[in-house]
């Protein structure tokens, strides 16, 4: 009951209120209230996440598991960032002369420095890896191995050329009235008609799936996400 029914009742009530608020103008404020409750809950969950992170890494360090040094670096980074943010290390003083009045993210603060010169370059590096992954994925996906793959290859070839100056130059001899047969024209056709039609079909399916799954959650038909073990 406590582990299963009460969480479902809370989910069902919150979901029903949000649906009702969409159609009943006088209940629109309730939707905001539920959103605020979720924010409060998520804030408590931050603490839960922090504790879990610390315990996981402490456990690795104390057991001297392989790679425990990384766990130490993670824990130290976590504690240092938390510390400089909480104690507002290096935060410039505000108009009253107190550094406690300034924002912990203020330019020049230790937290800002960590974000700008440690965190930002690191995430940019990881994001940049995408360029290599796109190339390797495209190489595998566009191989001429069967009819479908060949169609995909031809389409990708047209769209890639149509998005570059080379595509326009290569088909520049085609008269204006047949511009639909140039690489840019074919690209517009593929992206605007064929691709959009496919995307919309998928999105209609997703919307219906979201509606049906939401209804199953509201009615308690599917409680497997609550860990009931009964499907």
């Amino acid at each position: 009951m406590l582990r299963n029914t009460i969480p479902w009742l809370i989910a069902a009530c919150a979901g029903s209120v949000i649906i009702a608020a969409y159609f009943v103008p006088s209940a629109q404020g309730w939707q905001d209230t539920i959103g605020q409750w979720f924010e409060v809950l998520a804030s408590f969950a931050f603490v839960l996440g922090g504790v879990n992170l610390a315990m996981q890494n402490l456990q690795k360090i104390s057991a001297r598991e392989p790679g425990w040094g990384y766990a130490a670096v993670t824990l130290m980074s976590f504690l240092v960032t938390l510390g400089v943010g909480l104690f507002k290390v290096g935060v410039p003083a505000d108009s009253s002369g107190s550094r406690w009045g300034g924002s912990y993210q203020a330019e020049g603060s230790a937290f800002w420095w960590l974000y700008e010169y440690a965190y930002n370059p690191t995430i940019s590096t990881i994001f940049a890896l995408l360029a290599f992954y796109v190339a390797s994925a495209a190489f595998r996906a566009f191989r001429w191995k069967n009819t479908e793959a060949t169609l995909l290859l031809a389409t990708a070839f047209i769209v890639l050329l149509g998005r570059t100056y080379a595509g326009a130059v290569l088909t520049s001899a085609i008269p204006e009235e047949y511009s639909a047969f140039t690489f840019p024209g074919l690209t517009t056709l593929i992206m605007g008609v064929v691709n959009t039609a496919g995307q919309r079909a998928i999105m209609i399916g997703i919307a219906l799936g979201v509606a049906a799954t939401s209804l199953k959650v509201l009615l308690g038909i599917n409680r497997s996400y609550l860990g009931s073990g009964d499907g």
């Binding site: 969409y22 009943v24 839960l48 992170l53 997703i206 959650v217 599917n222 497997s224 609550l226 860990g227």
Partner: protein
């Protein structure tokens, strides 16, 4: 030869004097403040029939105003005789007690509106409070005579947003179909569900991981539990965990959100209980990493390269990290099954993974895996929704074609307007 040389001296002085007079007149006109009467200009005719009514289907914060344009507000008058309209709203002292209307004081607000406009929606009203409106046409010569609403107008909260009726009907039809088919399934009506290769392969993937003695990695997306795709992902996790418990395979679930971690722990614990393997459950294998997208990506890809999981499952909401996960998993030789509600990320999963759940298949997974009649019934309800979508699409295509073929014929124009504006536009 220049221009001055062509003009005779008398005409030259006449031209200079005329220019001086015209400049003085222009300066005088330019020096007048907006709204102030310009000497020599007549006042514009007043607008007519100012009417104010409560805006339908809202929470009582708007009033609709309409009027007929001033007789001088015509495009053919150059320069224009009406520059715009000035609408004044005066809040009347409240007579009813005990409402939010009491908290406001008597106040006046002025709205400046452009010429050629005969309607306005005042969206800054307090529900239950009465307002009086006055309107003037403003021209170069000054303001016209004033017109007023016949009486005070009071905005009221409505119980139902009428503009969303069409959307409500569609929602009722789809939800009604889901409930009806679910009830039919409960009564024992057999339902056929087509094979979904990605879901059939889940058991094989866990089996492969067991044989190789390597872990299964499950990623429930990077969004929180308020996303339905994450809920669907956690539901799939419970079935994968049950198979893993059954085969005694290790399952690892790193999460980006603490709430997802808690839900995932509960789901996996329930699955281990159901498989009667409660002793094998390890809560430390379901853990929180970071809310930051690429910090999480760094951890997961690092884990993949170090531990080389034999099976990777990605279900939920994914963004740029989808391809990084799929390619890293591919490089370590894992069998990969993915499903996401983000249509833009599907091509990356298709390119990088062995199996991909397309669109609604992600949401059908729980029903497919459990084979519970109630859940299978909901799939049939979804299919009914698809039939409705196809009917609406066909109707829209036919009407749009009819509008183009017979441009002067009103019925298809009205029907198309109703379909796109009222039935589909309210959502």
């Amino acid at each position: 030869m220049n221009l001055l040389c062509r003009i005779p001296p008398r005409r030259y002085w006449f031209a200079v004097c005329l220019g001086w007079v015209l400049c003085c007149c222009g300066w005088g006109a330019a020096g007048a403040q907006p709204g102030e009467p310009v000497p020599g200009e007549s006042l514009p005719g007043p607008p007519g029939g100012l009417e104010g009514v409560d805006h339908p289907g809202d929470n009582g914060t708007a009033i609709d105003l309409r009027w007929s344009l001033s007789i001088d507000d015509r495009a053919e008058f150059k320069p224009r005789r009406v520059k715009g309209y000035r609408l004044e709203r005066r809040a009347l002292p409240s007579v009813a007690g005990g409402s939010e209307a009491d908290s406001s004081t008597d106040e006046t607000q002025v709205f400046e509106l452009p010429y050629g406009v005969g309607q306005f929606v005042d969206r800054q009203c307090v529900p239950g409070r009465s307002y009086q409106y006055r309107l003037w046409a403003v021209g170069p010569g000054g303001e016209s005579a004033v017109v007023e609403t016949a009486g005070p107008v009071t905005p009221r909260r409505q119980w139902f947003d009428g503009t969303r009726t069409g959307f409500a009907l569609l929602l009722l039809a789809i939800c009604g179909a889901v409930i009806w088919f679910t009830e039919r399934a409960k009564r024992g009506k057999s339902l056929h569900v087509r094979e979904i290769a990605a879901l059939r392969a889940m058991r094989e993937a866990v089996g492969r991981a067991t044989e190789m003695g390597r872990p299964c990695l499950f990623i429930p997306g990077i969004e929180d539990m308020n996303e339905i795709a994450t809920v669907a992902g956690v539901a799939i996790l419970s079935h994968v965990a049950e198979t893993a418990a059954d085969y005694q395979a290790e399952i690892v679930v790193p999460t980006t959100r603490s709430l997802v971690m808690t839900a995932a722990q509960e789901a996996v614990w329930g699955a281990y209980l159901k498989a009667d393997r409660a002793d094998d459950y390890r809560p430390d294998r379901i853990y929180y990493v970071s809310d930051e997208q690429f910090a999480y990506v760094a951890h997961v890809t690092g884990y993949m390269v170090r531990e080389k999981p034999a099976a990777c499952f990605y279900t939920g909401v994914f963004y740029a990290e989808s391809l990084i996960f799929a390619e890293t998993g591919n490089s370590v030789g894992a069998i990969q099954i993915a499903g996401t509600s983000e249509a833009t990320q599907l091509p990356f999963f298709v390119a990088g993974c062995d199996y991909t759940l397309m669109g609604e298949e992600l949401f059908a997974a729980s029903a497919y895996l459990t084979r519970e009649p109630q859940q299978l019934g909901s799939l049939k309800g979804q299919d009914a929704g698809k039939v409705l979508a196809v009917v609406l699409l066909l109707a829209g295509c036919l009407l749009a074609t009819a509008v183009e073929v017979w441009p002067g014929w009103d019925p298809p124009v009205n029907a198309l307007r109703w379909l796109t504006g009222r039935l589909l536009g309210g959502g």
